[in-house]
């Protein structure tokens, strides 16, 4: 390599010649002209200042001698030190390489392993979560199918009641129509007309008059026809009546059929989806089709509204609770009435949860799943009774609250009135006088108005107190969605977090490996002169090839170490051609 000696010569010349020698003539060595001083220097009034070569700061010694580099004077001493250092680095190249390999590649590998581990666990968590979501969706569909089946069953039970009168009516109509059809079929108009004509013949023979004959024939025919049509008329009426009735019955049957078909379609749809979920191997795809966020947000909104009701309820019952539990004590810094009010609200909520679970609206308590229908009914009525009792309790407390407020206000008013009244009693006007009567009347009126207002406020509080426990019970409905979907969301977020961590670890691993390679290259660059000499010497001895082979082996080892982790996260070393070909072959075979 002819380039290496050339670079070596340039570096060597740079090292042995001090920096100022490249800037200024030998006569001005060790001095640097600051700012526009160069022009003034030309004029003979140079303002000069020496600077340290390494740091750039002025050095007082620099003006005296030729400058130094960390105490080593420029020139041959510095060059000798650098050569010494390079030689030392060349001699220590194997242990230093091992240390660097240890620092960068081992640490990188550790991060790479962590990345792989985190990625595997993140993916496993994602798959598990998707599986859970799919299972939950399947459960939901199963419940829906059961519900629809139940509904169809109930409908089928009611069907005989609905169809029996319709069928009876159909039978009746069919019978009527059959009778009418027979009657109509029995009518033989030709025979009747002939009979009428024959009956008219004797009178024709007697009369011999043509006009009379025509008249007699017409009369006889008309009478005979009339007599024959008498039984036909009710049949025609029956036809007229039964026609619309049959249409109604047909419509009703059509509706029943439609309803049944709808139910069956719903069941079929649910079953198809259920089958697809159960059979599908792509659980992530199935899970992504199930909506989690929207029901969760709706549930949060509903629960938030319910919680505002709880807040209102709390303020309604907090004060009157002091009439039951008394004041004067604190539990963990919370006043006893406040604590008691909170407990009552929690109890109401728990009762609501039990009520909703026993009614089958929610599935928060596992014990209810395995309970018999009778047991669930009992629990439902127990919870219902408790909730009703809580409602009554709150209504009573709302009345007590109003009384307490009134009493406290009256006590304060009494104290305030005593303060503003004169110390010595002023002479009061006579009771019968109009001056005395007017304020008394106005006071009575004001008192009545106040009492009416209080009554209204009490009624409003009563209504709220009665309603709120039931609303709290309804808050249990979205709670199930919140709990279940929160678990899913946390699982999904955790899996993505693990994957993100895996990505960070892999990035660090690649960065460390890259940095290691760079540092090793820099190290080789620094010691390239002795390395070159070593190669030349060993080459003369005939073992250059073996040295090269050893170097190549080492490098390959390092490269293998750097590309040890088989990671599809696009941060690895490219795959070799042979490996690629093998993989392609495998793919083709597959």
């Amino acid at each position: 390599m002819p380039v290496i000696p050339a670079i070596s010569a340039i570096c060597f010349s740079i090292v042995i010649s001090p920096p100022h020698s490249r800037l200024y003539p030998p006569g001005e060595s060790g001095r640097v002209v600051i700012g526009g001083a160069r022009a003034r220097a030309a004029e003979g009034h140079a303002v000069e200042e020496t600077v340290q070569a390494a740091t750039g700061s002025p050095s007082p010694d620099a003006a005296i001698d030729g400058g130094n580099f960390f105490g080593i004077p420029y020139g041959w001493p510095l060059a000798a030190v650098i050569v010494g250092v390079i030689l030392f680095m060349w001699m220590a190249r194997h242990p230093v390489r091992q240390v660097l390999w240890q620092i960068f590649f081992i640490t990188g590998r550790v991060f790479g392993r962590w990345g792989l581990w985190l990625k595997e666990h993140g993916q496993a968590a994602r798959v598990t979560c998707a599986d859970k979501i799919a299972s939950h969706r399947a459960d939901e569909l199963q419940d829906r199918m059961l519900m629809l089946e139940d509904r169809i069953g109930h409908r089928a039970e009611k069907l005989p009641k609905e169809t029996t009168p319709i069928i009876a009516r159909l039978d009746k109509s069919t019978h009527t129509l059959a009778t009418t059809a027979n009657d109509l079929a029995d009518i033989n108009l030709e025979d009747t007309a002939e009979r009428a004509f024959r009956a008219a013949m004797p009178s024709i023979e007697q009369g011999r008059g043509l006009s009379k004959m025509e008249k007699t024939i017409a009369q006889n025919t008309a009478r005979a026809m009339n007599e024959r049509l008498v039984p036909v008329r009710p049949a025609l009426t029956a036809l007229k009546t039964e026609g619309p009735r049959l249409r109604d019955v047909a419509q009703k049957l059509g509706k029943i059929d439609q309803r049944f078909n709808q139910g069956v379609e719903q069941v079929n749809k649910a079953f198809t989806e259920f089958e697809a979920i159960v059979k599908s191997e792509d659980r992530v795809k199935v899970a992504s089709q199930a909506s989690i966020l929207v029901p969760w947000l709706i549930a949060i909104l509903v629960t938030g509204i319910a919680l505002s009701g709880v807040f209102l309820n709390f303020f309604l019952i907090e004060r009157p609770m002091s009439e039951i539990v008394g004041e004067g004590a604190r539990i963990a810094g919370i006043g006893l009435p406040t604590f008691a009010a909170m407990i009552v609200i929690f109890l109401e909520f728990v009762t609501g949860v039990i009520l909703m679970d026993s009614a089958g609206f929610t599935r928060l308590i596992p014990a209810f799943h395995s309970m018999s229908d009778g047991g669930r009914k009992i629990m439902f009525w127990v919870a219902f009774t408790f909730l009703a009792a809580f409602s009554v309790l709150e209504a009573t407390l709302s009345i007590v609250r109003e009384q307490i407020i009134e009493q406290q206000q009256e006590t304060r008013d009494l104290a305030n009135r005593a303060l503003v009244s004169p110390t010595l009693a002023a002479p009061q006007p006579a009771a019968a006088s109009p001056e005395a009567a007017a304020p008394a009347e106005s006071a009575t009126r004001a008192d009545e108005t106040r009492k009416a207002g209080l009554q209204l406020a009490t009624i409003a509080q009563l209504i709220l107190a009665v309603l709120i426990p039931w609303l709290l019970a309804a808050a249990a409905l979205p709670l199930e969605t919140i709990i279940r979907n929160s678990v899913f969301m946390v699982s999904i977020a955790s899996s993505y977090f693990l994957l993100a961590l895996a990505f960070i670890c892999k990035t660090i691993a690649v960065a460390l490996k890259g940095a290691g390679l760079f540092v090793l290259s820099v190290y080789d660059l620094i010691i390239f002169v002795p390395l070159g000499i070593q190669r030349m010497v060993t080459g003369k001895r005939g073992s250059r090839r073996s040295e090269d082979r050893r170097e190549r082996k080492e490098r390959r080892k390092e490269e293998e170490a750097s590309s040890d982790d088989d990671d599809p996260m696009t941060l690895n070393q490219p795959i070799s051609k042979r490996e690629r070909r093998e993989r392609e072959k495998e793919l083709k075979r597959a």
Binding site: R319, E327, A329, R330, E410, T423
Partner: protein, 218 residues
Amino acid sequence: MMRRLLLGALTATALAGLAACGLITSTSRSVFVVFDVSGTYVKAVPDATKYANLMIAELQPGDWLGVSQISACSFSEKEIILQRQLPETPSLASAAKRELFTQLGAYAAQVKSAKYTDIKGALAQAAFELRQRPEAQRYIVLFSDMVEDHGKTCDTSNIKLDLKGINVIAANVIKSNPADPDKYFALLEKWEQAVKDAGGTWSLVASPDQLPKLVASR
């Protein structure tokens, strides 16, 4: 059966533990009101009882109230006018407060003047009574002009007061000599120092509405 007994015992122990750990604490306070009935202040006692009423109206159920007066020799049970704990429930507490108003009104109507003013003796008596109380917050409300005047037979000027944990509130301190404000302020400073030296805290209430806030809102 044994399991139930064990569960009950555990619950009782847990509750006792909670109480022992300070999780269950009392919010009640004890207030001792002292009226000065010396010649210089006895005329202001009816007004002072009204201010006291304002404060009593704001007391919480479960609070304790004592009333005594400053006379010639105040460190005596004879000077205690009433002692009462308000019921725990608000409705009963309201009724008790009204009774207290009546009692204080009756006291103000028949109050008699004393020859001397033994403020330290009254403070010592009030502190002694408050120390017997379990309530954590303790107040002495003084309705006085804070001018001491000891008789020969009952000189308590040199007694050592112990007012640790007690808040002393001087309310409605009238100016006995309007021509000498310096003396008034010096007097207040002297009492403040004396209370603080005895381990208590000192507050001065100028207007009637401040007193309930100072006592009841803490």
